[in-house]
């Protein structure tokens, strides 16, 4: 990292980190609420877990991790002034995000066809709310990635431009991080 020193380097603008911290606190509360509900209605939640399609969850986790890696690689490429690589990586990350949404649409429609909706029980209320809030993050993130891709086309990555790329990238990594926890809580733990 070119501008790191003994005091460290904060990627992107300070403002994005305030947002990230706020979002992490909000989701921490949601994670705790989920497990409190689960403790209260263990049988309902275990049945709900069993009715989720874990393969969809796994595919989306791989898509999220890969998109995050592509965005991290785009930042590394920007620091090396590899403009085409930066644009390509953001474009591919965007495709992964699109894939995530397509999988989610399939998953939601599968549940709705099986008569499992927001009002079915507490498990599905939390499942649809949490994954819905996360999906809003994905859509916003895709807007950010599209902006970064277009913004990168002119190259010359330095100073404010590099910081702006880092800010957008940090937001996308947050979206990835939140999904990692949601995948474990909703799909994996206590499902058998």
């Amino acid at each position: 990292m070119s501008d790191s020193d003994s005091k460290g380097h904060i990627p992107g603008e300070a403002g994005i980190w305030l947002f990230i911290a706020g979002d992490l606190v909000m989701f921490s509360v949601l994670f705790v609420i989920f497990l409190v509900y689960r403790a209260d209605q263990l049988a309902v939640c275990q049945e709900g877990h069993a009715r989720l399609n874990q393969t969809w969850g796994l595919v989306n986790t791989i898509l999220m991790l890969t998109s995050s890696w592509l965005v991290a690689t785009a930042i590394q490429a920007a620091r090396r002034q590899m403009t085409r690589v930066v644009v390509t990586c953001f474009g591919l990350a965007l495709l992964c995000g699109f894939g995530f949404i397509v999988v989610k649409v399939f998953e939601y429609s599968e549940k709705i066809r099986a008569d499992l909706t927001l009002t079915s029980n507490d498990f599905f209320m939390l499942y649809f709310s949490y994954t819905g809030i996360h999906l809003i993050h994905v859509v916003i993130g895709m807007g950010v990635l599209t902006t970064l891709m277009l913004y990168s086309r002119s190259g010359k990555f330095a100073g404010t431009k590099l910081r702006n790329l880092e800010s957008g990238a940090s937001f996308w990594h947050l979206v990835d991080l939140l999904w990692i926890v949601l995948f474990a809580l909703l799909y994996l733990v206590g499902a058998r």
Partner: protein, 91 residues
């Protein structure tokens, strides 16, 4: 280009995929007989993944010490809280 592909972030991505596979296996009866221990192990692996994303992709490892401590502090507190709640609730 080769240096870019063989970078540290690529190794981290591979580790994250391996950890995801491990979580998947733990959730499908590999390693633990009871779902309670398996769930706790899945949550621990999950927060190791979270720390990797934070340190390596979000580049917190280059950030000032106070920021790294806040990040690690959050991970420890939320991981302990979630594992505790999960284990106490039964499985």
């Amino acid at each position: 280009m080769k240096a870019l592909l063989l970078s540290r972030v690529t190794a981290v991505w591979a580790l994250l995929i391996i950890a995801t596979t491990l979580s998947w296996q733990l959730g499908h009866g590999v390693g633990f007989d009871d779902a309670r221990s398996a769930g706790a192990a899945i949550l621990v692996v999950t927060f190791i993944k979270v720390r990797l994303v934070m340190r390596e992709f979000m580049e917190i490892r280059h950030a000032p010490r106070w920021m790294r401590w806040i990040g690690d502090g959050w991970i420890v507190v939320i991981a302990v809280l979630l594992v505790g709640l999960f284990v106490n609730a039964g499985a």
